[in-house]
Symmetry: C2
Subunit: 458 residues, 2 copies
Amino acid sequence: MKYLFLTAFLLTGMGMVCAQNNDSLVIRKIADEILTNGQAYNNLRILCKQIGPRLSGSAQAARAVDFTFRKMKEMGADTVFLQECMVPHWVRGKKEEARILYPNGTNRSLKVCALGNSVGTPEKGLTASVIEVRSFAELEELGAEKIRGHIVFFNYRMNPLFVNTFRAYGDAYQYRGSGPAIAAKFGAIGVMIRSLASNDDDHPHTGTTEYVDSIRKIPAIALSTNDADILSRELKKRIAIRVFFKTNCRMLADVKSYNVVGELKGTEFPNEIVTVGGHLDSWDLAEGAHDDGAGCVQSMEIISTFKALAIQPRRTIRVVMFMNEENGSRGGDKYAEIARTAEDKKFIFALESDAGGFTPRGFGFTASTSQKARIWEWKKLFEPYGICEFYDGGDGADIEPLGKMGTALAGLVPDSQRYFDVHHAETDVLEAVSVRELKLGAINMAALIYLASEYGMN
Amino acid sequence: MKYLFLTAFLLTGMGMVCAQNNDSLVIRKIADEILTNGQAYNNLRILCKQIGPRLSGSAQAARAVDFTFRKMKEMGADTVFLQECMVPHWVRGKKEEARILYPNGTNRSLKVCALGNSVGTPEKGLTASVIEVRSFAELEELGAEKIRGHIVFFNYRMNPLFVNTFRAYGDAYQYRGSGPAIAAKFGAIGVMIRSLASNDDDHPHTGTTEYVDSIRKIPAIALSTNDADILSRELKKRIAIRVFFKTNCRMLADVKSYNVVGELKGTEFPNEIVTVGGHLDSWDLAEGAHDDGAGCVQSMEIISTFKALAIQPRRTIRVVMFMNEENGSRGGDKYAEIARTAEDKKFIFALESDAGGFTPRGFGFTASTSQKARIWEWKKLFEPYGICEFYDGGDGADIEPLGKMGTALAGLVPDSQRYFDVHHAETDVLEAVSVRELKLGAINMAALIYLASEYGMN
């Protein structure tokens, strides 16, 4: 590309009604401020590089609480406060080992990581032959006699045919979420899954597995997608290979942690609360840049931007750094629990950014028909900033409990193509985030929060 | 993000008319084929890693011609042929040097590259004091007396306020394109420009400058954005610094090169030609992954996909690897020249992908009102694949000469946020391209070419 001038991108919107004209001017100011002076990327650098991985219960999670508390004060929030909650404290321990053991005594090492919340292996590890399946139906067909005493390998590839990769993740999630519990029911002694990843590489992707209380908890690991292919190929050769793996993870007692809440007080309806946030915890393998440092720094950007532009919201805005989304959701639950008992306050709207810091494409909304009709009228205001769709349905894991109280919910919908390349893997680092893409998300979030705080949700 | 299921992404389109239903099925097959078996990324790997930088006239450009010729044959094109054209042969020579020279005898080296098509410095380099300006108006105000004998430094930052970065590029382009010629008019002996880049880093970005025949050609280099900031800061200190730079580039005699054209013959209207392409040449500093290896491999993907699905187009499809877009546009000119003299053929439509291999957001169209009305009816067919807008106005540098003959033109519009981070710099490498994003572009291009070849442009 040498030179190309696309006249098509001239901002349109001449036909808008008067209120929208004023809103579009405010939103343009918000965009200009963030594009010129935005600090989201610098704050993300601190979360990623100075603090690092922030799994619930870790020292880094505590440092992230301190940092965002201090930062939101410094930005000029009217109040910053903590909401205490007890969180699970899972630790990975020493790095995992895994090897294919060949009958001739040689071995081949595999790139793996323990699944979040999983139990560790015995001290000497697990050694067993491996049964590969691609579905629960295959497992069932094999039955307990064939599975008992073996390691089950769920080699289910994220379906590339879903254009939106979140659908492919939703489809494949069952094997990570329930695979270990279901395989244990059939007598398996361990589980390996193909990483939930949209690309082929050497990085295993972690994420929680969900044991069932009545079923024995067995150790569970994820293989990198490349190594899942290698193991599958070796198994097809029908030589008597076994696999050894050793994990050193365990669940410790719950520890005290916090949501961090920064507030801009509403001038007219201070008891109507507009919530916006991301989750502060991240997996221990990664810097948690896209998941979900991005959502945190984009949300905080609303405070600094509104202060810089002297925007005084009519309703109270709460910027929330939720704790423990990844392996317990205790922060989200706590926020809703406190909201439920605050009878003088009405939690009218909540927005979460937890789908990566990529170029935004839209918002999804879970709200009443009349609320949605109103919200859809705003859509034109977002088009100059890359939003092309308002989707029916959308939220975030941390705000979902608020939804049950009747709060209207929204989720930022960024481009999804690269998210599951890095999600829950050591490749989710600052360098995988584009400054401008991150800013565009922050602009659209700030614009939506502006409108929600200005007009409410009646 | 632990788990999120967005029902909003279920494919819609139930209400479409019958022809569109059939078209939507064909397009779904195209998408499935590319998402499952697409070879675009593998072909891009060969262009980037095995062949490498492919500036017009270079041995690598010749190898790229051979590779794409062979590849399109292998894919099953009915015919593959070359269109000979003479191209400029500019060579960079030995790596450039540049330094700030301090009065105390120390120096600081600067990261620079010569602008494309620029003349080299004398053997001993240029040493002079530097006059920094931010606009041509400032230059004019200073006037020839103050500029004569100095190096002019155009420190114009790409305007971050343009949401679409191509607009910022269009706005800043003048300093690279015309800066050296205009500064020479005022007696400058050399020009430095701030790289046309949307990010702050240490990589200079090249690209053509356009001399004017009647004005002395002076050497011109681009500084990395970081070094432009450093130089500007040093100049503000008002100590008597000078700058030394030495470039070793020169323009050699034109050499013979080629467009490569792969054809799928139309079954019903073989003389109506639908053209699709990208440019095969790239700057010598970079692998040319986004610019424009992506456009080339996406275009070739149409041949392999149509063959795999046994789609026989009603009109003839020509997949064109244009030569010399970067520093001469001779390939595009030659293609149009041959088209003009082929009186039995009608070049009805041409699509170019030359804005990066990022997630597609839309297409821009330059066509008659009635053609556009027809094209806009297709828009719904593209929405499941990430297209959110059809823009009025759009083309590509290589197909523009066809447009002058009345051919309807289109340009793929990918997300623009990251393009100018890497454009014309050594960071434009395969690793900067996402497999899925590249494929989505190819899918939408193949769909558009399918529709154009099926329905024509009447």
